[in-house]
């Protein structure tokens, strides 16, 4: 099978999967107990207001009609409208997504880079104190709750040392860089504004390190196990017997071959990363999709919750697809 036909078939297989996800989100929101409209208002409103409310949101239609509208809307990029002010949800997603993306990129990078480095060190120093300490670190970071770690960091760096801000994305006294990509670090560099870049990094540091540390453990353990496994493999033995340097064995053999499972794990971790992002954003008042989602949950804004969750689901599906394609590209055995 060629790479091209693998990619095509993988893309085609993603379509029913996404479809299933969308349906699932729709169903879960509908089977939750209570009438969304009543729950939204919390206190008594007149039947006329309620009827008008239902009509504008399309909640007065039969379920199957709602479903068709929902799916058809998604195809047009329409994620529905908010119960709060009837504003299109896509506007909110569009405004908030860059913040979440920026946080995810930096924390993901942190986790992968440090996870792989520590994993490699741990494997090379197998069964020494260094190895044991790194493994302990991996277990601790994996077990620790995000908000707890976030609060500890806030206390240390913002309250005691007063060197880093305890929340938000940018200093409220200054204007953030103009939107090009929506990522402050990139936009500030693109406009040559080093000052703004410095500020955005300062604000990014705590949340991305917090979320990064949570994901770190998995990458350490995965790298370590796979490195050890390839190090004991026959082909590494025979590479040693051919007199290859230990550097080239570590990087061209062990790490390259351990990279494939790490890549797969990155795909799986995206879901956990997004879930972690929700908690991290709340802890640090980070104005991303996570805080938006939590805020909408507080307001029992069912349409907005549905739209945001669908957006998350599509993100995960797309990244998983990308990872699978990359895997096929790197592993010659898949391209038969």
């Amino acid at each position: 099978m060629s790479l091209k036909s693998y990619v095509t078939s993988r893309v085609l297989l993603t379509i029913p999967m996404v479809f299933l996800l969308l349906t699932l989100v729709f169903v879960i929101i509908r089977v939750m107990p209570g009438d969304p409209a009543l729950l939204h208002f919390e206190r008594h409103v007149s039947p006329e207001v309620l009827a008008e409310f239902r009509r504008r949101l399309g909640l007065d239609l039969p379920i199957w009609q709602q479903y068709i509208n929902y799916i058809a809307g998604l195809f047009r990029g329409d994620f529905g409208i908010s119960m709060q002010d009837y504003s299109p949800i896509i506007q909110h997603l569009h405004a908030r997504f860059p913040a979440t993306l920026e946080l995810s990129i930096y924390s993901g990078l942190f986790a992968v880079v440090f996870g792989v480095i520590l994993g490699v060190i741990s494997a090379r120093k197998y069964d020494t104190t260094t190895d044991h300490s790194i493994r302990l670190l991996a277990i601790v970071t994996y077990a620790i709750p995000v908000f707890f770690l976030g609060m500890i960091f806030q206390i240390i760096f913002s309250v005691w040392l007063r060197i880093l801000p305890s929340g938000l994305r940018f200093d409220p006294h200054y204007t953030p860089p103009p939107t090009i990509t929506g990522l402050y670090t990139i936009d500030s560099l693109l406009t040559g504004n080093i000052w703004a870049f410095g500020i955005s990094i300062r604000y990014l540091l705590l949340p991305s390190v917090t979320l990064g540390i949570i994901l770190l453990g998995i990458f350490i353990r995965l790298t370590r196990t796979n490195m050890l496994e390839t190090q004991q493999s026959d082909f590494v033995m025979s590479a040693k017997a051919r007199g290859l340097s230990s550097f080239s064995i570590t990087y061209r053999y062990s790490l390259k071959n351990a990279f494939l499972p790490i890549l797969t794990m990155i795909g799986i971790q995206v879901a956990i990363l997004l879930a972690g992002a929700v908690l991290t954003e709340t802890t640090f008042s980070w104005p991303g999709l996570g805080t938006y989602l939590v805020d909408r949950i507080y307001h029992r804004d069912y349409t907005a919750i549905q739209g945001t969750v669908v957006f998350f689901a599509i993100m995960v599906a797309v990244v998983t697809l990308a990872v699978d394609i990359l895997y096929a590209y790197f592993d010659p055995r898949i391209r038969l």
Binding site: M1, S5, Y6, T8, S9, L12, L13
Partner: protein
């Protein structure tokens, strides 16, 4: 005892989703491609060939471990390829198979006594005490004595040869009539191979068994088999009494196979030409005689026409155009 008629086993080749969507044609690994043979009661029938010859698949088909694509396997008067449900479970008592690697065939966390008694439990035979008694008898019978000393041991506490004995005890405790043994001595050290082979012979006499002995090692097969069939790419090339295979091999492939076996005698004459190349893929076997691209004696008829397995001497079947007329 067991008669195989036109047995066929094709495995579909895994293909991409797209290819499956847009092409009707499927590729198959033709693991067993229309073979027929008979094994007499009390006989040890050897099935020899290289990897990819289909010998293991034939063995698995004979004990219903894999369903056949087509063809019949007549055992005790009925075609076992069609049996289902409870009858199949009862049938499986009569048919047993042992695999090559005694270590991976045993659960490392189960004592060998339990591993053997498990076969009885699965078939709901006897009470707990009866099961224990029968298991100990089986251990004694395969030479692991005293049985009580072995019953509670774990596989890693045994040597390779002892583990192979456990495998036999487990296969024979259900009193089968027909046993397929897949390379029983391949993982066993040379110094105890003969001992295991003798054990197999003794068990055969005691329990009135019939064996299908699958092997790649023709040098050892002589010491246990009454008759030997040579397979290549899913086909039988030659079936004859053991003696005839060793002293009067007719098919050029059999001759090549024999000459390739290293002889433990430094003064032995260098063997004649060893066949060139390797066994081709069973997905698209060569047309005509499947061996013709590697055969030193191939002639114009070989690529065109597939030779039939014919009786050319007493009890000696060959599928080769050299002996066709």
């Amino acid at each position: 005892m067991i008669e195989v008629k036109n047995l066929v086993k094709y495995f579909p080749v895994q293909k991409g989703f797209m290819d499956a969507l847009f092409t009707r044609e499927k590729d198959f690994v033709k693991a067993v491609d229309d073979v027929s043979f008979k094994i007499e009661k009390g006989e040890i029938f050897g099935l020899a060939g290289e990897s990819g010859s289909g010998k293991t698949t034939v063995g698995r088909l004979c004990v219903r471990l894999t369903p056949a694509t087509s063809g019949e396997i007549i055992f005790e008067g009925q075609d076992i390829t069609k049996i289902k449900g409870k009858q199949l479970r009862l049938l499986k008592r009569r048919l047993q198979i042992t695999f090559q690697d005694p270590t991976s065939s045993l659960n490392p966390r189960m004592t060998i006594g339990n591993a053997i008694a498990d076969a009885l439990r699965l078939q709901n035979i006897g009470t707990r005490t009866e099961q224990r008694k029968q298991t100990e008898d089986a251990l004694e019978r395969v030479g692991l004595s005293p049985a009580s000393a072995f019953y509670d041991r774990y596989p890693h506490q045994l040597s390779g040869g002892q583990r192979q004995r456990v495998i036999f005890a487990r296969a024979f405790i259900l009193r089968p009539a027909f046993v397929v043994t897949d390379e029983p001595v391949a993982m066993v050290d040379v110094s105890i191979r003969a001992q295991i082979l003798n054990l197999m012979r003794d068990l055969q006499k005691e329990l009135d068994l019939t064996y299908l002995y699958i092997t790649h090692d023709l040098a050892t097969a002589r010491h246990i088999c009454d008759r030997i069939g040579i397979m290549y790419l899913g086909k039988f090339f030659e079936i004859a009494d053991s003696r005839a295979i060793y002293e009067n091999a007719l098919h050029p492939y059999t001759v090549g196979l024999m000459s390739a076996i290293p002889v433990p005698d430094p003064k032995a004459e260098k063997s004649e030409a060893i066949p060139t190349g390797e066994i081709p893929s069973p997905i698209n076997p060569p047309p005509g005689c499947r061996f013709h691209p590697r055969c030193p004696r191939a002639f114009e008829r070989c690529p065109k026409e597939e030779p039939e397995l014919l009786l050319v001497e007493k009890n000696h079947w060959v599928a080769c155009h050299l002996y066709s007329d």
